[in-house]
C-alpha cells in the first residue's frame, strides 16, 4: 500500500495499517516534523521536532518499532506526477491512501490511480469536519467527476485549525475501506461520499455512482489524464496550516547537505543541518529549509513570489 502524505491523516492511516499487519507500506512526504504537528500527528515525538526529521523518516522509525514484520519504505520528496507514476509502475500497490493537504496533488493521484487501475481512498479534514470516499477504477466515478473543477484555496486547515478526533474519524473511514479492498470484499464497500462534523453532530452521505461522466478526462471513454502532463515549471505551493511556501525546482537537484550548510555559514547565516536538510535563519522571521533534492520550504511568508525570490537569491 502507498500513503501519500505523512501529516495527520498519513500518520493515523500508517499506524492502523501497520498494526493490522499489511505486507509493505510506502509513505511519501515532502515536509519535516515541527512542534505544531504534535497535537495530532500521532507518529511523531518532541525529539523528532527538535531534530527537524523529515516526516517520512520519522514515520518509518516509529512504524518499525510498532511492527517490525511490515516492510516500510520512506520517500522524502514531493508527490508529483513523475514520483507517483514511478511508484505505480514499480510497486503496483493494491491501494493508495490519500493523506495529502491539497487538491492539486489529489487530482494527480486521481489520474495515476485510474491510469494504473489502482483504487484510492480520499480523506480530508478541517476544524471538526471531515469527509472520505473510495474511488475504484472500473467500479466508481473518479474525484474529477465529482468536482468538475479544481478547487481554489480557502479550504484547508490554514485558517480553521483541526481537532484530533476529526482526523481519527477520517482515518477510520479510510482504513475500514482499505481493509475491505485488501480482503477483496468489494460488496461491503460503502460506495458513498461520507462527511461528518463532530462539533455540530452532523452527518451526510451521498451515493456517487450516478455522477460518472462518460467524457471525464480521467475516467471517461477517452482519458487524457490531464494532471499528469503539467509542464515543468518551478512549482510553488502554500503549505496547509503553515505560514510557508514550498518551492520545487523544475529539475531535481542533488545537494551535498554538508557543503550546502557550509556555504550558508560562510555567508554568516545562522545554519543548522541534519542528514536530510539544512535550515537557515534569514532574519525578519523568515527561514529557508533546503532538502537534498533541491526542494525548499520558505517559512514566514505566504507570498509565492517572495518565496521564489528568496529561493533563487540563496540557491541560484
Amino acid at each position: 500500500m502507498v500513503i501519500v502524505g505523512a501529516g495527520a491523516l498519513g500518520a493515523g492511516n500508517a499506524e492502523a495499517l501497520v498494526r493490522a499487519g499489511i505486507g509493505k507500506l510506502t509513505i511519501i512526504d515532502r515536509d519535516y516534523v515541527e512542534w505544531s504537528n504534535l497535537q495530532r500527528q500521532q507518529l511523531y515525538s518532541e525529539a523528532d521536532a527538535i531534530a527537524r526529521l523529515p516526516k517520512a523518516i520519522a514515520a518509518k522509525r516509529r512504524l518499525e518499532q510498532i511492527n517490525s514484520e511490515v516492510e516500510i519504505e520512506a520517500i522524502v520528496g514531493d508527490a508529483g506526477p513523475e514520483e507517483l507514476e514511478a511508484i505505480a509502475a514499480e510497486q503496483r500497490p493494491d491501494v493508495w491512501i490519500d493523506a495529502t493537504d491539497n487538491f492539486d496533488t489529489r487530482l494527480v493521484l486521481n489520474d495515476v490511480a485510474y491510469k494504473y487501475r489502482i483504487p484510492w481512498i480520499y480523506g480530508a479534514c478541517v476544524g471538526s469536519y471531515g469527509l472520505s470516499c473510495a474511488f475504484i477504477p472500473g467500479r466508481t466515478p473518479c474525484l474529477y467527476c465529482l468536482l468538475e473543477t479544481v478547487p481554489q484555496g480557502g479550504l484547508t486547515c490554514d485558517t480553521a485549525g483541526i481537532i484530533g478526533p476529526a482526523v481519527q474519524m477520517v482515518v477510520s473511514y479510510q482504513v475500514a475501506e482499505a481493509l475491505k479492498m485488501l480482503v477483496e470484499d468489494w460488496a461491503a464497500l460503502r460506495g458513498k461520499l461520507v462527511s461528518f462534523d463532530l462539533w455540530t453532530n452532523e452527518y451526510a452521505a451521498v451515493r456517487i455512482d450516478a455522477v460518472k461522466k462518460e467524457d471525464c478526462p480521467t475516467c471517461g471513454r477517452h482519458p487524457s489524464y490531464p494532471f499528469l502532463s503539467y509542464d515543468q515549471r518551478t512549482k510553488a505551493a502554500v503549505l496547509c496550516g503553515r505560514d510557508s511556501v514550498q518551492i520545487r525546482p523544475p529539475v531535481q537537484r542533488e545537494y551535498e547537505i554538508d557543503e550546502l550548510a557550509e556555504m550558508f555559514r560562510r555567508q554568516g547565516l545562522q545554519t543548522e543541518a541534519n542528514p536530510y536538510l539544512v535550515a537557515v535563519s534569514l532574519g525578519g522571521g523568515k527561514r529557508l529549509v533546503v532538502f537534498a533534492d533541491g526542494r525548499a520550504l520558505v517559512h514566514g511568508t505566504k507570498d509565492v513570489h517572495e518565496a521564489k525570490t528568496i529561493y533563487y537569491r540563496y540557491l541560484g
Binding site: G5, G7, A8, L9, G10, D98, A99, T100, D101, N102, F103, R106, G123, A124, C125, V126, Y129, G130, L131, L146, L147, E148, T149, P151, G154, L155, T156, C157, D158, A160, I162, V170, L193, V194, S195, E202, Y203, A204, A205, V206, R207, I208, A210, V211, C240, G241
Partner: protein, 67 residues
C-alpha cells in the same frame, strides 16, 4: 418550508426556493459541494432551476483540502 438536511429537520425561510437559494442561505455558495435531493445528485448547472418542496430530503457534502 421544512426540509430534512443531512438527517436533521430544518425550517428555511420562504425566499429559499431552489438549490442555489439553499446554498446561499447556508453560505456554501463559494464552497465546492455535492448536493443530493431525494437521493438524486443535482448537477451544478441545475442548481438555479431545481425547485425545492416541503419535505424534500437533502444531503449536502462540501469538500475540504486539509489533512
Amino acid at each position: 418550508m421544512t426540509l430534512t438536511i443531512n438527517g436533521e429537520t430544518v425550517t428555511v425561510p420562504d425566499e429559499v426556493k431552489t438549490v442555489s437559494d439553499l446554498l446561499s442561505y447556508f453560505q456554501l455558495t463559494n464552497k465546492l459541494a455535492i448536493v443530493e435531493v431525494n437521493v438524486r445528485i443535482i448537477e451544478k448547472h441545475e442548481y438555479g432551476t431545481t425547485a425545492l418542496a416541503d419535505g424534500d430530503r437533502i444531503e449536502i457534502v462540501h469538500f475540504v483540502g486539509g489533512g
